[in-house]
């Protein structure tokens, strides 16, 4: 196994009752890079993410993380190994406060999460760390706001802070800037660059400005298959990719 690559998927396929959403996709993510996954709507990007994080069982194929076969593992187990994902639709705990949201990410490592006889005040020792994470995404001043009241862009920022609470080795982001205003997009872009300094990022992203800015490698998916892979300039010049994006020019 080549140790340059943190994640390696071989011949992954997913079939939904006869409909093949992902067919025979092989993907290698190089350690320490930002790897973007792009493709038109319905190309199978989220399905691929779901397989890589074990939220969906692949119909066929294998997944290796740091040289270990994780194909048969459970999603929570994969998360504990260091692959942590965000969701395409913002995933916060709406009726917990911003601080509590991040603490849910932090508290597992205390080893007290099954202790129903212990006071929740014992979680306060995590507040400092939680506030630091919130500060990184510019949310420290809203620590005590209930998450449901945040704007969309800030929910996404909170989601990233919560994900980072696990200090994952490999971060999977499903359209982190979707639905954001121009300013928020730039903030999240800078944030991704910052957090990628000492970890690996695999992200689905439609915003080509973000993709071109951040990515070391880009994989293009269309109708469940990889049609191109390489650096931004290489991929953008690929005639097949240009054709695939003709109908969805709005995203480019």
């Amino acid at each position: 196994m080549d140790s340059d690559y943190i994640l390696e998927a071989r011949n992954l396929a997913k079939e939904f009752k006869g409909f093949i959403a992902v067919s025979n996709v092989s993907l290698k993510v190089r350690r320490g890079t930002i790897h973007a996954l792009i493709g038109p709507n319905g190309a199978g990007k989220t399905t691929l993410f779901n397989m890589l994080t074990k939220f969906l069982a692949p119909t066929s194929g294998t997944i290796h993380f740091k040289g270990r076969d994780i194909t048969g593992e459970k999603p929570a187990q994969v998360a504990r190994r260091g692959i942590v994902r965000s969701f395409q639709i913002s995933a916060v705990f709406p009726h917990l406060t911003v601080l509590e949201n991040v603490r849910v990410g932090l508290q597992r490592k205390l080893g007290t999460s099954f202790q129903f006889w212990r006071s929740e005040n014992s979680l306060q020792e995590l507040n400092g760390q939680a506030l630091e994470l919130l500060d990184d995404v510019g949310l420290a001043s809203q620590a005590n706001v209930v998450a449901v009241e945040l704007s969309y862009g800030r929910k996404r920022a909170l989601e990233i802070a919560t994900t980072l609470a696990l200090d994952p080795e490999l971060l999977l982001l499903d359209e982190p800037t979707q639905g954001m205003g121009h300013e928020d997009v730039e903030k999240v872009r800078d944030l991704i660059r910052k957090v990628a300094a000492h970890r690996t990022v695999l992200m689905v992203e439609h915003n080509m400005r973000v993709v071109s800015h951040l990515s070391d490698t880009i994989t293009v998916l269309q109708r469940g298959s990889v049609i191109a892979e390489g650096r931004y300039e290489e991929v953008a010049a690929n005639p097949q990719v240009m054709e695939a994006y003709m109908g969805t020019a709005a995203h480019v």
């Binding site: 995933a91 916060v92 006071s119």
Partner: protein, 316 residues
């Protein structure tokens, strides 16, 4: 300015004071009846209100504990305190078995399977001999608590029941406000997200299920001692439905809601039973529908909402 936690603290004080003087102004048997169901509803609320799991078979735990307690106290001459412990332990064990079978299911499937399992228990209780089948177990001796307190005296028994209720209430309250409770809330709010943060959500749900079953059992065990008999009613699906109604009526996911709901329903049942007879069931059904359609937050939930509105605060 008063805040919610101060109001809650005042609520605890009022509850305790009311609990202490209650047997001087109301029938102890009625109060004990309501307290048993209040604990039952609080235990149910831990599962539905704080974990988001709707069980339609909670009478199985209530009934199991009632039968086991009744049986060991009556035929094995076990003291009542120990009998209650035995009943609670049995309900906890049944809870573990049921929970292991059902915890992977979601929503309506979860409700249907818990109902089916509870029906299995019901038919087991109907067929097996130690329960007395259709006759039930009659004439369970109340005995003495810790060899000192003569429980034949309703008022003395009442204080033991009150103390047991408070114990159960404190366990639930602590569970909700523990690191474990925090994970439960996260699971209720967004289960896939909790999974993606590395939590084996089924293990957390199972523990919540077992705690809920055990405390429902504690309620059923006390019920057997209070009424000195156990019948099939304790484990039939009406009882499972009643605890759902009490919780919804009082206020799902609120600390006091299930208590209020239990007292309201038990009061109605005891007041109306001799006046309208079997119409009680219809009235209960209508209340159920009213609850779901008109005031979804229940009595306590609506009251808290009103309180917050009056103070110009946003509900949460």
């Amino acid at each position: 300015m008063p805040n919610l936690s101060k109001v809650r603290l005042a609520g605890y004080g009022a509850l305790l004071a009311a609990g202490l003087v209650a047997p001087f102004v109301a029938y102890p048997i009625f109060l004990m009846h309501a307290l048993c169901f209040a604990l039952f509803a609080c235990a149910f609320n831990l599962l539905l209100g704080y974990t988001g799991l709707l069980s339609f078979g909670h009478a199985a735990f209530f009934g199991t504990a009632a039968y086991v307690t009744g049986h060991v106290v009556k035929t094995m001459a076990v003291p009542p305190g120990l009998g209650v412990l035995a009943g609670t332990a049995a309900a906890t064990a049944v809870g573990f078995v049921f929970g292991s079978l059902v915890i992977r299911r979601q929503g309506i499937y979860f409700a249907m399977i818990t109902l089916a399992l509870a029906q299995l228990m019901y038919f087991f209780f109907l067929q097996t001999s130690f329960t007395g089948g259709e006759d039930g177990i009659q004439g369970i001796p109340r005995g003495h608590f810790l060899w000192m307190v003569n429980l034949a005296d309703d008022r003395k028994l009442y204080y033991v029941v009150l103390a047991t209720f408070l114990f159960g209430f404190v366990v639930i309250h602590r569970t909700i406000h523990s690191p474990f409770g925090q994970v439960l809330k996260a699971i209720r709010e967004n289960e896939p997200r909790a999974v993606s943060l590395g939590y084996d959500v089924n293990k957390y749900k199972l523990l919540a299920f077992v705690i809920s079953a055990g405390l429902s059992g504690l309620a059923g065990a006390m019920y057997a001692i209070v009424f000195t008999f156990v019948t099939l009613t304790s484990s039939d699906w009406h009882t499972s439905g009643e605890v759902v109604l009490m919780t919804l009526l009082g206020g799902l996911g609120t600390v006091f809601g299930p208590i209020v709901g239990a007292f309201a329903v038990v009061t109605l049942q005891t007041q109306l039973a001799d006046k309208v007879g079997s119409l009680v069931t219809v009235i209960m059904g209508a209340m159920f529908i009213g609850c779901v359609l008109l005031f979804r937050r229940g009595i306590v939930g609506e009251a808290v909402g009103l309180y917050n509105r009056v103070l110009g605060r946003r509900p949460y």
